[in-house]
Amino acid sequence: MFGYEFYVDPSRCIGCQSCINACAECETHRGHSMIHVDFIDRPSSLASVPFVCMHCDDPTCAQVCPADAIKKNEDGVVQSSLKPRCIACSNCVLACPFGIPKVITEFEQMMKCDMCYDRTSAGKRPMCATVCPSQALAYVTPEKIGRRREQPSNTFYFGRQKVTTKVFMMLPPEHQALNVDVVDYMWEGES
């Protein structure tokens, strides 16, 4: 949908799994959910995180695919693997920095979130972001998200790998990017 972007805010998530249940309703993968919801450490906390595909600008999954089965559309949405090409080798599963793709053994194919391509291409919002009761998953305009307390970023550093994505992660105000590795904070000479 023109003018709309996808935002993920783990701090709003209540772990209800509405997204997982709604994802299974989608036309392209009925009965199978492509969303991950993790309780980070249930013995200590109720913190939970929903993950959809981040739709990287330069997708690592596609880079490592030996069968050239993973394609990105012009609008930046990275699709599930092409069924005729996919060899279900799981390279993408291992390589994705966000842990998104799944090899569905029943279909011998890697499948993942395609941002509800059937819906967004027809002017509807993705199912998960429409139903999410806490709007931890949100598909709204940048103007609307700008009213939130947390602010969006789509730049991630995994050690020396910089990843920029179509989907935004909501971060505490004044965080420009998300660094996940101590290496990101170290000085190792001019790179």
Partner: protein
């Protein structure tokens, strides 16, 4: 009489609960076809009544589509809403009336089942008197059905004993609001929540029980608002609380009085508002005098500085809202807990304004509307008191009978079960109620059911309670009959009929109208459908506190809901009550009412040293009659787990996933431990959606609030020991193991 006709296993094999995982025709086939129509209606679960569009094809609900234009939830749905359509076309669905035989149930014709029901009801009434028959209703029924039940009890049967399962839900809040404000409704619409500068959430597990309300809380924080949470457990909304007060179960009233104590000590109360618009302030001020932060902390287990801070934030805000639910209401002092919330709001002038007020979060689907029109033991339509002569005159006129013919108030839900147990009530006709799972002290409930001389049930699935029935009349799901409901906001909504009842199942309205006709009361029940009943309901409610006269189905559709009171056809409805500080008491003033702390009806002591509290999980609804039949929702929480803090677990030698036997003064059950730091170490928690040996209500007690008659589900005393082995249900079934469990990380870790 009403013993189980055949072994549990046989009943389960035939009537479930079986798990439905797929839409009609499967994921890849029939349900993929485009729907013939999208029906704009509401979710059947919970008092938020989210808008939803049901996809219908071939007279079957095949899926759903979010309804983004509906203003309350704007397309949002919790997992129950997403999967609700899986209850239609369910293999367990009752397609014919059932009559009990020596070995089980057999299908019967409608004539046979209805005649049998009427004959038995008459025999019992002729032998023991009219009041020997009781009716149970439910708060998931439309308001038309609720109205019909109230009239059926009083006009068709002439019994005074009718009550409903809202008695387990909203009555403490309703009683307190009537005392303080003269009306039983949340004063503010939900759209006020993001406008508040401080929101106090007390005894309300918003994320699991009213998930859409979470978004309202988060939007309040986006606007700079602060969130205060009072709960013995950290619930998911606590993750973003600015202040968390882990109250000891059953001491809420003391904590709220302690907060008010600080407000008054500092002189933060709004004197002008109090003087002009309220009565009773001085008595309440005196009553909170002893509750200084230190004394309050000692009883409640909340640090004195947190009490001070809560008071400072709440009183310091220009606009503050207090949200409350069953946590404070399910207590033997539930009314007093709510009154102390109201006292705090009145003292700080937080009422009758945008972003300022106290709000009850009604729990059941039609929890609000279901209690307004006559299935409550002490009320007549329009939220009128059954003991008020003027109300009796008005309603008798609408019903075409003499005021004296309307029976006086009868017993409440738990009191009815107790009267059955002691043999005073001999026959029960129940709909939309599963007391064997939902009433406290389940063993007592089972004994009572077995003593009934006649037990008739109207249901769409054979619930655990219905298994005890002599006759089961196959009724309708919410999507199979048109009607209205009233949401937690006080917004009256239109439930559309999406499909016909399957097989020989019938609409509930037709069943009760048929029974009334066979009881010889045809002229009082001339209804063809819900709309006919609604027209009479409008008249009956006219002039009462819950005045629906100005509401029509068309107006609801045009406005996407109408907030009552709505006294005339050109009236737009009333989203916010008490604007201009006009309250519903005859003098227009609100009342401060003194609340007092007292011990729970099931106190902890050396023998039972741990508090037990019960509640819900996000994927299940109430007694689970519907949601324990939907595969995806069961996978999320396959069985109840005992939440216990590691500090308590360690002293008992209990490790994560150990089986633990919980014993109260009633009975014991054995559940698997979920060892978490998100609960007070002196308290354990069990969700209550399951039957039999998984039922939290085997453990709870029947102490009632003296005014609201709500049971004290939230405070029991228990002791714990590590079990030698898993219980039978865990060894024989797959119920406790699932690849899709909510706690995958936990299972991997240990």
């Amino acid at each position: 009489m009403a013993r189980l006709p055949s072994p549990q296993e046989e009943l389960k094999e035939r009537y479930g609960p079986h798990l439905n995982y797929v839409p009609p025709g499967g994921w890849s086939e029939a349900s993929r076809q485009p729907p013939e129509k999208l029906v704009k209606t509401h979710c059947c679960f919970c008092g938020q009544q989210c808008g939803i569009q049901l996809k219908v094809r071939n007279n079957q609900v095949i899926g759903f589509e979010p309804w983004e234009e509906f203003p309350f939830n704007r397309g949002m749905l919790c997992p129950k809403g997403v999967k609700r359509y899986m209850q239609s076309n369910h293999p367990d669905r009752l397609l014919n009336p059932l009559l009990r035989t020596d070995s089980g149930f057999r299908d019967s014709t409608w004539d046979e089942a209805l005649d049998f029901t009427v004959r038995r009801l008459r025999e019992v009434q002729e032998r023991y008197g009219k009041d020997a028959v009781a009716l149970y209703g439910g708060a998931s029924l439309t308001s038309e059905k609720s109205y019909l039940l109230g009239k059926f009890a009083r006009v068709a049967l002439g019994t005074r004993h009718i009550d409903y399962n809202g008695r387990l839900c909203m009555v403490s809040a309703g009683t307190a609001y009537k005392l303080a404000f003269g009306v039983d409704r949340s004063p503010n619409p939900w759209s006020d929540i993001p406008e508040a500068q401080v929101v106090l959430v007390t005894g309300a597990n918003v994320a699991d029980c009213a998930p859409i309300t979470t978004d309202y809380l988060w939007r309040c924080r986006d606007n700079g608002g602060k969130l205060i949470v009072i709960d013995p457990r950290m619930t998911p909304v606590t993750r973003n609380a600015d202040l968390y007060l882990p109250v000891r179960p059953g001491t809420d009233v003391a904590l709220l009085m302690g907060i008010l104590h600080v407000v008054l000590r500092e002189g933060w109360e709004k004197r002008d508002f109090i003087n002009r618009h309220t009565l009773g302030f001085d008595e309440v001020a005196k009553s909170v005098q002893p509750w200084d932060p230190r004394k309050t902390a000692e009883l409640t287990g909340v640090p004195p500085e947190s009490i001070e801070r809560a008071a400072r934030w709440f009183a310091g805000a220009e606009r503050a809202i207090a949200l409350h639910a069953r946590g404070i209401e399910h207590q033997s002092k539930g009314v007093e807990n709510v009154l102390s919330v109201i006292n705090l709001c009145l003292a700080t002038g937080n009422i009758g304004r945008a972003g300022a007020g106290c709000m009850m979060i009604t729990g059941q689907g039609n929890g609000q509307g279901g209690r307004e029109h006559g299935q409550k033991c002490d009320q007549l339509p329009g939220q009128r008191s059954i003991s008020d002569p003027e109300a009796r005159r008005h309603v008798a006129k609408v019903w075409g009978i003499e005021p004296d013919e309307i029976p006086q108030a009868g017993y409440s839900a738990v009191e009815i079960m107790e009267a059955i147990h002691r043999g005073e009530i001999k026959a029960l006709l129940s709909i939309c109620f599963n007391p064997l799972v939902s009433l406290p002290d389940a063993g007592f409930t089972r004994e009572a059911l077995e003593r009934l001389e006649f037990f008739g049930v109207v249901d769409f699935f054979l619930s655990e309670t219905a298994q005890h029935a002599d006759v089961v009349l196959a009724g309708s799901l919410q999507e199979e009959e048109e009607g209205i409901v009233c949401s937690a906001e006080g917004r009256v909504l239109h439930i559309q009929k999406a499909v016909d009842p399957p097989g020989n199942a019938r609409g509930d309205i037709r069943i009760y109208v048929d029974l009334a006709h066979r009881l010889g009361k045809k002229k009082f029940f001339p209804y063809r459908d819900g709309h006919d009943i609604f027209e009479e309901l409008r008249e009956a409610s006219r002039g009462g506190p819950a005045d629906y006269f100005g509401i029509t189905y068309e107006k609801i559709d045009d406005q996407m809901g109408v907030f009552w009171p709505c006294p005339t056809l050109d009236h737009p409805g009333t989203p916010r009550l008490f604007e201009g500080f006009r309250f519903f008491h005859p003098d227009g003033k609100a009342r401060f009412v003194v609340a007092e702390y007292r011990e729970s009806g099931d106190p902890v002591n050396e023998e039972f040293p741990v508090y037990l509290t019960t509640g819900r999980v996000v994927s299940q609804y109430l007694s689970g009659t519907q949601t324990r039949r939907i595969g995806a929702l069961v996978d999320q929480h396959p069985a109840p787990r005992l939440e216990i803090h590691p500090r308590l677990a360690e002293t008992l030698g209990i490790k994560p996933d150990d089986w633990v036997t919980v014993t109260t003064r009633r009975r014991e059950i054995t559940l698997q431990a979920l060892v978490v730091k998100t609960i007070r170490p002196d308290t354990v928690f069990i969700p209550y959606h399951w039957p039999g040996q998984q039922s939290a209500n085997q453990l709870t007690h029947r102490t009632l609030d003296p005014r609201s008659k709500i049971p004290e589900y939230k405070v029991s005393a228990c002791r714990l020991r590590k079990a030698e082995e898993p219980p039978d249900w865990a060894r024989t079934g797959k119920a406790h193991a699932s690849a899709n469990s909510s706690f995958p990380i936990l299972e991997e870790r240990y």
